[in-house]
Amino acid sequence: MSQTYRLNGKGRIDRSQPLTFTYDGKAYTGYRGDTLASALLANGVKLVGRSFKYHRPRGIMTAGSEEPNALVQLGEGNRTEPNTRATMVELFDGLSASSQNCWPSVKFDLQSINQKFAKLFPAGFYYKTFMFPASWWEPVYEKIIRNAAGLGKSPMERDPDSYAQKFAHCDVLIVGGGPAGLAAALAAGRTGARVILADEQNELGGSLLSDDAQIDGKLALEWVAESLAELEALEDVTVLRRTTVSGYYDYNYLTALERVTDHLGPQDDDSTPRQRFWKIRAKRVVLAQGAIERPLVFADNDRPGIMLASALRTYINRFGVLPGREIVVFTNNDTAYKTALDAKAAGARDVTVVDLRDDPKGALVKAAEDAGIRVFKGYAVVATTGKHAVNACEIAKLGDDNRTIVSDTTALPCDIMAHSNGWNPTVHLWSQARGKLNWDEAQQCFVPGFAGPWKPVSAGSGNGAFALKDCLSQGYATGAAAAKAAGFGSGDVPATPATDDIEYGAMRMVWTVPGKKPLGHGKAKHFHDHQNDVVASDIHLAAREGYISVEHLKRYTTTGMGTDQGKTSNVNALAIMAEIRNAAIPEVGTTTFRPPYTPVTFGAITGQNRNELFLQKRTTPMHKAHLDAGAVFEDVGDWKRPWYFPKGKETMDEAVMRECRQVRESVGMLDASTLGKIDIQGKDSAEFLNWIYTNKWDNLKPGRARYGLMLNEHGMVFDDGVTTRLADDHFHMTTTTGGAARVLGWLEEWSQTEWPKMDVYFTSVTEQWAVCTITGPKSRALLSELTSLDLDPETFPFMAMQEGTVAGAPARVYRISFTGDLAYEINVPARYGLHVWNALREAGRKHDLCLYGTETMHVLRAEKGFIIVGQDTDGTVTPMDLGMNWIVSKKKDDFLGRRSFARSDTAREGRKQLVGLLTQDPNFVLPEGAHVVEDVKPKPPMKTLGHVTSSYYSPNVGRSIALALVANGHNRKGDTLSVPLMSGRVEKVTITDTVFFDKEGTRTNG
């Protein structure tokens, strides 16, 4: 038996495309054009889930994205998705879904026991309990809470699908493709403006898809079809279906999620993105989002089969499903009568309207009565019954005070109940855009008020204009105005076609419909937030306890914090609070609307920026050679640098020890291309460097290089490097790898903002040059085989630069050294980097050349006591702290950071200073980060003097070596201190100076 509740010949589903799907393991059929919700209802499935807190049976409440109840786990395995709204899932063949938040099954859910104890779980109960004994909180109580937490289950595998992002620009963005949005798009599109029209449904037309309204004497849907045809023919109009505008950010930046293949089901491969995340910069925005029907808050209003009146109407008209036979419509307004009429016309056995109003006068009321529909006037539904779905409601006459019932109750059997408490314009995006809201007293809803800085306009029922005629006219007007504001068209507004609107009578506002017992007494529950199980009595409790601000109310009761963000509940909640406080509704105010409008897939926000494309891997021109040589790489900033080059089965330690020895014995080669390089030109270059570095630069001769330290204005070291004077007005600066961008920014900032008159220009040339550093006693011999340069130390001394060729490529060769051994940094245009590297490697064979990586570089420089900024310094270290007073010029009046030296703390004796450390056990390598103390205590806390910044085993020194920042370290040379480790070991150390190898510095000349 399938689709028992499907109506013959009605609806916009495609009956030629039957589809099979499973729900909770059971197979059903539906049609292309169905949502999962409409297909379930067609099959008579009403119970689809369990509520969050009480595990009450829940069904389908709406037909749109505002759905709070019908959340299902969609799909399986790597494609499973929790909390999917059945009302927004388009049916596809093979779809599988299951209920969530229930165990073992949705029909028999063990945790529904919670209902029995509901009285013990009023709002905020957890703040008052679970405190005794305190030690039980995490192991016992929190475990229980967490077991109950959450709704659906996270996928546990990698997502097989791909996602895309798209930046778009338009003159006018229109959100919502109902009559208002379509009219706006027509008016704007005809001006030639670039228009994007986005609607979250699969079809345009908005509420007209569920309606039989007429435009110009024809079915409105014909007007929709014509309008669409016109729009799609306009070159600069883009119509986006299945696209939810999720966020409205500053300067009319709106995000939208387009579901590209979701309605088709899983795809064979991931070449087509599953979803596309749009980032739209619009000149003007028209919001035509429509309105969301407001539920009535009455006793046990949450049983499956109880739904919004407009939802029922949508199921009947748009999906051709009449999900019940005996229907009660409960309303405070006229619009629900349309539902009653349509249900009747669709063949419902019995349709009854329960109208809160004593004397409703609208034309539709009369029409209903004429159609033979029973109407109870001045009545309220005061109870509902039914275990897994509603089977009856009880009604009674409502007192004038809106709070009491003044008659006996009458039971009305029903298998579907529809209800309506009026409409709330969808003002979410308006509010996200900093727009203000006004309270419309006549229509009892918030409507867009003052527009914020980005000046959106609102049209249609989203603007509180509920008549079709007004939707159309506002659509045309706002579309034309928006286009004009964006520079298109004259602002002339197309004429509004004729419509068949009916006058509606006034509403009767009963924010809490009384039940048979006073609120909070007895078992009945008046839900306003169905998803988070928040009931009217919770609002009373919150008010009683002082949580009367709407923001406290929200947080104390969790109302509006579910996946639906309170689309159906918020206004009811604050209206109830207003009643309790005896305040006007706008005085209570709304909570803050925040993006996204409906939840957005993380994968879509990420788009292509994942896996290999998550973040660039910067590599040098020699990268291929490193791969071939079996390098292990280190991440330095975004760069991949060779860390070490293991041979055979060597461990890292073994490889590094070998590299360290071999460099000092023969020659080693390092790829130093990642060092930051900045070309500096201009007459004032030297003067500028005088400001930037601590030492003097005007006396450096062309062709010569010098080491410099850069300080921030706090007087702390933040970068270092060697800079070479190429000509009087031309320098080549090098920086640390990680500091390259920062240093360039630093130079530009000072030159452009503080000293704009200085004649000095900076250009990053980092990647222009590939750099092969060769170092070790045989480096001169190696280089001499490949170069035209005269390498005689007399003509090419230490700290000099020469231009020539190396391995046939044009090169700048710098004789500078970070190892303390003879060294050449060979810079060639990047295109020759690989060639020159290979040539040196080839020629190096007979010189016993070894390739080495950053780790060996670090050991070798530590042997010489050379610092690494960021390792031996941390932004709190001055040059003096490093023992580098020699580099701080006393002759210059000023340089950046200098003044800070004189501050009391910076000038203080006993600051942490860089020293060498030698362990008592020469084979023991201290862990970096270990702390140095004077007095060892049996256990912490212990007063520390500082920490180990660098620590290695040095094969060249034949023991372990370390650098450390130690309080008053420079005066402690020779002292013995201790390093207590987390393992419990305490190592004695002697303070030394920072140079461990070749103290005389004779090796630089080879």
């Binding site: 500053d250 204005e713 920014g745 530009e748 452009q752 903002t753």
Partner: protein
């Protein structure tokens, strides 16, 4: 994601720029003469204005030039920007922070 107006390249995504903090803070001259207090204020003390704020930006990904701008720090609307060394184009006293100068004085814009 607001827009920033580069005096040369025009309105661009804020992400193309880097923020440089409060504008018009000159580095003190004669730093040896000033007190620790004055020096500290120069490095650390900022107006941090809630409202109309003159600040520095650099068009990092575009032309690379530094400039100044006046922005409302509550709405993030940028009134206008101006080149280094120019006087601030101050918005009217009663500026509500809701519209940029280009919107209010379209002829002057661009």
């Amino acid at each position: 994601m607001f827009l920033v107006k580069c005096p040369w390249c025009g309105w661009r995504e804020q992400t193309e720029f880097s923020y440089g903090g409060e504008a018009h803070i000159a580095r003190p001259t004669g730093t040896d003469e000033i007190s620790d207090q004055e020096w500290g204020d120069y490095i650390y003390s900022r107006k941090n204005t809630k409202g109309v704020h003159a600040e520095r930006w650099v068009h990092t990904q575009g032309c690379g030039r530094w400039f100044n701008a006046v922005r409302h720090t509550v709405t993030d609307v940028m009134w206008d920007s101006y080149k280094m060394g120019e006087d601030a184009p101050n918005p009217p006293k009663d500026w509500d922070g809701l519209s940029s100068r280009d919107e209010l004085e379209p002829s002057e814009g661009k």
